[in-house]
């Protein structure tokens, strides 16, 4: 489904080299819910961006749904990202000038879909997050939790195999955060793999797998209790 071999990543700024990720191996199967934990600056976002093809890696190989992404050009990579991956960000990243409907429409616009198809998918996604009735509203008219729901609708509208979430509840109070977690679990239950970066140990233990990153070193946590501690 997703398989990484000896993948590594370094940033070069002027003369300084930052080894953001040490070489690692990782496979994620269809339908898994993976939590990524680790201290700030350890490389979690970098890992997620590489997984979602937003950033290039330096060494190793990466197969996404059987496609070796290393040799793809920008167009093919964008297409793969569009079809396979849905991103959810800590700061929602909705476009304020577009209403909910048009925000959810965005990934679908980069596919050859009929307007009827698009409409069905948008309404389906908005229904799943419970905001179909507010499709004509603008992001600023919603609460933070609702805005993140719209972002989730946007991520799932294209029916991707993976949802990549970077601290999706980081900007929300605990009640709203619980709602978002419920929603993600529902989506996962329907077969979509989820990789979620989180600070919240409570959330991490709800995942099937926990990956910890420290100073760019990836390791798998088998013992859930330790993660809480």
């Amino acid at each position: 489904m997703l398989s990484m071999r000896h993948l590594s990543k370094a940033y070069y700024t002027d003369t300084i080299k930052t080894q953001a990720l040490q070489p690692f191996d990782l496979s994620i199967e269809q339908g898994e819910f993976v939590a990524v934990i680790g201290p700030s600056g350890s490389g979690k976002t970098t890992f997620l961006n590489i997984t979602g093809l937003l950033e290039d890696f330096c060494g190793g190989s990466y197969e996404l749904d059987g496609v070796n992404v290393e040799k793809l050009n920008d167009k093919a990579k964008s297409k793969l990202r569009n079809e396979k991956v849905g991103f959810i960000f800590q700061s929602f990243n909705l476009i304020p000038e577009l209403n909910l409907y048009d925000n959810v429409d965005m990934p679908l616009r980069y596919r050859k879909l009929s307007s009827k198809d698009r409409h069905e998918r948008i309404m389906d996604a908005l229904n799943k997050v419970g905001l179909a009735s507010r499709k004509a509203h603008y992001p600023s008219q919603l609460s933070g939790g609702q805005q993140q729901r719209v972002a989730i609708a946007r991520a799932i509208a294209g029916k991707p195999s993976f949802l990549l979430a970077d601290e999706p509840t980081g900007n929300l109070d605990s009640k709203m955060a619980d709602g978002i977690m419920e929603l993600l679990k529902d989506i996962n239950a329907q077969g979509t793999s989820i990789v979620m970066v989180t600070h919240d140990a409570q959330q991490a233990v709800k995942a099937q797998r926990i990956i910890e990153i420290r100073d760019g070193m990836l390791s798998e946590r088998k013992n859930y209790d330790k993660a809480i501690a």
Binding site: L54, D74, K75, N82, R154
Partner: protein, 443 residues
Amino acid sequence: MFSYYLKLALISLRKTPFLSLLMIMTIAIGIGATMTTYTVSYLLQKDPIPTKSDRLFNVRLNSYGPDKPFNISQGKEVPPFILTYQDAINLQNAKQGVNQTPLGSFKIMTRTTEQSITEAKMTPIRSTYRDMFNMFEVPFKFGGAWDEIADQDGLQVAVISSELNDKLFGGENSVGKSLLLGNLQYRVVGVTDDWYPIPKFFDYRTRAFNKPRDVIVPFQTQINNELWTGSDVSYQCWKEPADDSFSAILASECVWVSYWVELNSAAERNNYMDFLVNYSMEQREYGRFLREPLHQLFNVKEQLIERKIIKDDGNVAVWLAFAFLAVCLLNCMAMMVAKFHGRAGEVGLRRAVGASKQDIITQFTVETCIIGLLGGILGLLLAQIGLSVTAQLYSHLYAEMLEMTAGIVIMTVLLAVVSAVTFGLLPTLHAAKVQPSSQLKSL
């Protein structure tokens, strides 16, 4: 997809209305100034009679006396650009061209028979043979040219402009009505229809951008009635006339008649030149044409350049105008960089949801297209204002003359769009290059 990008472009323009307006205005001002200058230059320098400009010739005979040449230019002897009356008539009678005519002029108080003498207006008159109408492709609204008898006998007939017809006859078909030139009665035989040759290649340099004269009469009627206005003709003599009489002027060696001939083709120019040389040799029998037969034929373009009505070299003003446009576009480019920079977050997001660089470039190019289009339309308006101001500023230009052609209108809008897209390309490519992951933490 295009309609989607169009929608995004309009949303983007609305998001920063002031910056958008500034960009559009910058393009509009550049386009307006450039196209005003270009249009004036284009209209004033264009071929006034494209169908036959290479086979219409101004005839110049070296009729000056043996003592000194008419003129010397760059070490070479130059014949006069106008003819004596007798030579003009001789060429006219020889009929060596398809069409040919002398052109004379005078001024006289003119009114209709219904108007009182106090309503008469001093009017410049053109005198010519009927060939001129055909030769210069004069369009007619009513009636037409006079007949050959009128040419031969100098009948009192007239062709008037549609403007004068509007003024004197309320725009009705005035053929058959009468006009008083001084106290001579002339019958209207034709009314021309919007005839504005630009430049007026057959007239003096100082009048090249005036409207054609409102009244045209047979050349011989000017002669018969001894209609002469010294201030209205270029009149030069190497030997003074025998006395002050009109007949003495006609018989003299003084030059004052300009002469035009239309040939079948540009290739017949040499034949006509041979004819002129033969003619001048014959005239030696009468003690005339004692100088070298340095006769000349100038086609329309050559005439315009020689008379310094148009310039031969590239037009500096137009180059300056285009340089100004480039400055405006560079300014606009700086604003685009600023505007697109503010959209890095959106670009990052769109990249994250699957837009390729190409998709981003297309989206931003549609936006620069819209800016260019709006700038072009506004620029077109400014250019129209510029042209009417130019027409008022320079008394020798008139409004009808400075009308944009459909071609120039299309060119104006197209130029705006193309230059906006071209100068928007750098900011666009810059925006598309943004590293998507670096933008997604803040939007």
